[in-house]
Symmetry: C2
Subunit: 322 residues, 2 copies
């Protein structure tokens, strides 16, 4: 479905009275929503936003959830039980639901007032992926609700992001291979990021490393690093610093200075150095996660190859009862 | 300062028009705010809430921050640079600030319209600790804004929480010792929780284990566990499951069933079994983190003793430039 058309219909349907947007999913799909929640919080003066893992939303829905709420739900298979149930909870409260899935026969679609069947697998065309779709939807909702001056710059960014991501992917392939060769025998990684990018520190840790490689991992917010976590820093522990462009870059730079001094195993994945700065400064930070998703996919692929541990291998997910 | 009096003054000062409450701090102080943010989101139909690590708030303040906002800031030393700066950001935007610190000469106090000098060190008297103070403040703000039917039950809970915590502490001392003896040579711990308790999964990981013991650790939300992280589960990896009372207990119980089946090293810290259920069901979940802070402090003390690694030993914090 067309994003602009959906937003127009949504506003008509709700008499223009959107109060809240909740982003609800699990695991990797929740990661994809992080930037949208961040955009509402940092850009909108009128809309309330919330980011929920689906089962928490089911059991403790926000008190504000009601007929002025829009609930965005995403499930790759479309049958994640908690996410489908969250859509039911949203409906019972009178909210409108927007469902995103890869599966045309998804259960989620039955509980979605609006829906998007997204593309998958071609990381060079990011427009159709769920993260970019939800981000697009979110900025259009903000713009229609109150006007968003950065929208033209954002649109220009969307026009060139495929090209930026393609070049960045090519640039990191050899680095990812070197990273994987160097760290193939490590058991534990810390992943640092801040701002719009933090979702991908979390996502790389829980999906790419824990789920797909059975490796221990933990995300750390670059701003929180100095208030506890940094005491684990030593010359043996690997850190992946995901440095974004934009307003919180200073936080990542501070982490980098510290790591360069006290750590020995540090991999820096820097959006600026990877060419994201061709996008206007007023909106480039919102594109960080789009770039990082594609670029970090090269890292996990290289790690999978070096460790001879396929990215699709699972021991519990979809295999046992839980 | 008296909490009820502060809330009354705040409402008078702001002509009753409080729109947003932001909770801003770093590390352990941020952990202490988690439950207050959770309460606003789950209980208030009128107030917007946000939880921010201070340096992110400084660089990307919420778009809604303004003259209808209350910003609660907490710093034990009162001189955490990012937190003091966040108070300045709040003031420049026209917001009111409430500062909490242990230090009567704190820089934070100069930027606090209202302030609390809290008590510290006596974990058996939790009323005066910053977490309980902020929670008390938050529910009184909700009650004054819109009425909170659970307030009488919450007050009764506060009246008996010291007694509950005291008994729970006594109960866990031998368990904590056994835990520490068993796991003294482990290097990595996962800490699971959900709902109001999640802040303490994060806090136990980053403060107690990483900062105070230089051990690798990661918090996992019990609801997210099944969407990636659980693939690391094996018989060698230790998990600490912090099981709360209340609406998300089902999430923790699901994690427990899985861990009992597939993990071997599982420590369960259960608020119900530790007697928190004497507090009314309608509010008991909000007391989970108060209980867990005190109880988990016994665990970290036991680990410190067993590992012969003092809780106050730091290699970077306050020792080097960063």
């Amino acid at each position: 479905m067309d994003v602009q058309k959906t937003v127009s219909q949504l506003f008509a349907d709700m008499d223009g009275a959107i109060g809240e947007i909740y982003f609800v999913a699990c695991g990797g799909s929740l990661v994809d929503m992080y930037v949208s929640d961040y955009v509402v919080k940092s850009e909108s003066k009128t809309l309330v936003s919330g980011l929920y893992t689906a089962n928490e939303f089911v059991h403790v829905p926000p008190a504000k959830l009601g007929c002025h709420s829009v609930v965005v739900l995403c499930s790759h298979s479309g049958s994640t039980a908690e996410t489908v149930e969250a859509a039911r909870v949203a409906h019972r409260a009178g909210a409108r639901t927007i469902g995103l899935t890869y599966n045309r026969k998804a259960d989620l679609l039955e509980e979605s007032d609006y829906s998007f069947i997204y593309e998958w697998g071609d990381e060079k065309r990011v427009h159709g992926n769920p993260m970019a779709l939800m981000l697009d939807l979110t900025v259009l909702i903000i713009d229609q609700a109150e006007g968003w001056p950065q929208l033209p710059a954002f649109r220009r960014g969307m026009d060139i992001i495929d090209d930026v991501v393609g070049k960045a992917e090519d640039a990191v392939v050899p680095r990812a291979k070197a990273f994987a060769e160097r760290y193939r025998d490590e058991n534990m990684f810390y992943v640092l990021a801040s701002g719009a990018s933090y979702g991908h520190a979390y996502g790389f840790a829980i999906c790419s490393l824990m789920e797909m490689q059975w490796l221990d991992a933990a995300p750390i917010h670059s701003g929180e690093f100095f208030h506890g976590p940094f005491e684990v820093t030593d010359r043996d522990t690997p850190f992946i610093l995901v440095m974004g462009l934009g307003r919180t870059r200073e936080l990542d730079e501070r982490a980098l200075r510290f790591l360069n001094e006290y750590a020995h195993k540090v991999e820096v994945v820097d959006a600026k150095e990877l060419g994201l700065d061709v996008i206007d400064d007023s909106v480039s930070e919102f594109f960080n996660p789009i770039l990082f998703y594609s670029v970090l996919s090269k890292y996990r692929q290289a790690l999978s190859t070096a460790r001879n541990h396929g990215l699709d291998v699972r021991r519990y997910m979809g295999k046992v009862e839980y």
